[in-house]
């Protein structure tokens, strides 16, 4: 199978398509559970929060709404809980229902399997980022969770906008047995516009705080983060740790390399950071149990 000559896709085309993107699809199984929860009269904001924050798409949608200038907090709200407090129960309910309903009308049969894997990895990274943030005394722990949750949102955008082309390239890479080296695949398809940049660009368009966008943009090379090196380092290490210990399986970015300076930076805030996260083998069980709990909550 040969690639078309139009690759890599020009940056302007990618940006134009992202700008026109108003929402990302939500997995059907998740949507049903959330709608069921919304139907119950005893559901509280807190219950809803625990479920919504396990889903990057809904979380991003809620943050997009809360960060819009209408509510007076543009680019200030980094956590879903903050957004919930600002919007209130009724608006959150409306936002979720609209988001889920619009998602129902879209064909996403092919996306489901891979998105499922990506979202599981995103959630594991988010939980790990929260844990690391607590250990290194990061001031806003929820922000680390959000950045972890959104770190691979670029993939969802790519699937959504360039599904056919991406599928084609993925098959090529499988044939060449190089699927694991996904950065090469991305480069051949998007040029310099990687999933990190795509994700960060989308979050910027949706008015999310700059520090979260930056952490998403530089989660593979956190030293480039100028605004908030702390957050970018946390997300980077969380991403690496959950991949290494096998608590989540993502089909992409398998060969991501740990950046020593990020680990060193975090060691300044927690002396035994390296020992805790890179030399211990008991961590996967912890994360897996948390993941199971989160999944049970949704069910």
């Amino acid at each position: 199978m040969k690639l078309k000559q139009t690759y890599p896709i020009p940056e302007s085309v990618i940006r134009e398509k992202i700008e026109s993107l108003s929402a990302l699809p939500v997995l059907d199984s998740f949507a049903e559970d959330v709608l069921q929860l919304l139907d119950e009269p005893t559901t509280t904001t807190s219950n809803l929060l625990r479920v919504v924050e396990t889903n990057p798409v809904l979380s991003a949608k809620i943050l997009k709404t809360a960060n819009s200038p209408v509510y007076g907090f543009p680019q200030s709200i980094a956590t879903v809980e903050f957004a919930f407090s600002i919007l209130g129960f009724d608006i959150i309910k409306e936002t979720i229902v609209l988001s889920l309903l619009s998602s129902r009308f879209e064909d996403k049969t092919r996306e489901d399997v891979r998105l499922q894997q990506i979202w599981e990895h995103a959630l594991a990274t988010a939980i790990m980022a929260k844990k690391i943030a607590r250990d290194v005394n990061y001031p806003v722990i929820g922000e680390a969770f959000s950045a972890g949750l959104f770190h691979d949102i670029g993939y969802a955008v790519i699937f959504r906008l360039f599904q056919n082309e991406f599928e084609q390239l993925y098959q090529v890479s499988l044939q060449q047995k190089s699927a694991r080296d996904f950065s090469n695949l991305e480069e051949s398809f998007f040029g310099k516009i990687t999933h990190q940049i795509v994700g960060a660009y989308l979050l910027e368009k949706w008015n999310l705080p700059a520090s979260v966008c930056e952490a998403v943009k530089f989660h593979h090379e956190p030293v480039r983060a100028e605004r908030n090196l702390f957050l970018a380092s946390i997300v980077h290490c969380a991403d690496i740790v959950v991949r290494r210990d096998g608590s989540s399986a993502s089909p992409f970015d398998e060969n991501i390399i740990v950046v020593d300076s990020a680990v060193d930076f975090l060691k300044q805030h927690c002396q035994d950071f390296e020992v805790r996260y890179f030399h211990q083998t008991s961590k996967p069980k912890v994360i897996k149990s948390v993941l199971l709990k989160k999944q049970k909550m949704v069910v």
Binding site: T45, S76, F82
Partner: protein, 336 residues
Amino acid sequence: MKREHTNTLPSGLEDVSMLRSALPQLEVAMEQRETYIKALEKTIDVLKDELPQNTRSTFRQSFYINDMMTFHRRSCSLSVSKSYQEHFELLRTFVSEIFPVVDINIFSFDGQNFKTLLSSYHNLTQEFERYRESGVIRWVVDEKSLIVLSPVESVAFDKRSMVILPLVIGHIVIGCVILLVEKKPEDFSVLHRRILSVLAYQSAIGLFHLQKQQEKVLDTAELKNVVAASLKKLNYQEVTIECSNEVYIHNLKVVSEIINALFEKILQHQISKVKIFQTAYYAVVQLEINRSFNSIERLKVVQKSVRSYYGDITLGQRENDSILTLFLPLRSEYVQ
């Protein structure tokens, strides 16, 4: 004779016909006039209606200003409250005058960490911790602005709100107040926010004074402790000096007695006996003199340390005498 009907009217009636022809125009004019009058009347009515409204509005404004001034004056009592409890009660009273308060908690901030300063019925520490982790508190501290939120555990049609007020002195946040009130977030007006800001401002000044007062009290207590410890040390040193003095005097007396005994032997020309015992005496005298010098050195050290605290301390007459007793014979040419 048949009267000829002509279009021409007899004289005198021409004016009437003119009037008839002008009638429609007159009617229109009158209608217009009536409309005009009605319009004028309506205008007058509207103006009549508006006038009291304006008066009322002016009254309302003046009432608003007076009310604000009164509230501001009253809230000044917050800034001069004498204790944390009094401050807390005052704050709760003032906020309750604006809307029903469910709970109030005050947290202090040292630039890094928050800790509960005062709380009423329920402790909102858990809620506060959640807000801190979710970045709400950081926003309040950065923006130095109050925020009105839906409570974390709210349900549909919930009428409660959580208000977080920063306590700012100059440009420094020294804490924040969390209020749980029976009012929906969307029902908070600009006036409510302004009044709450005034209260927060006064509360910040009051708490700042109380903190400073508490610090002074702690400093004074610490100072008292230091003074007490110093006095204790001084007493101990005095006792030590006294004991040391006794020891020194004893040592010096022993030495002087030995030396005196030696002198007596010499004076009695019992040289032979002296010779017999000379070596032994000499060793003893040497030892005693060394011990005395050591004692004197130690005494000097004690004096020095005491002097650094309490100035010069003179040795007692007995010590002087003892030293003289020691040194005078030593100066004698008999003992080398």
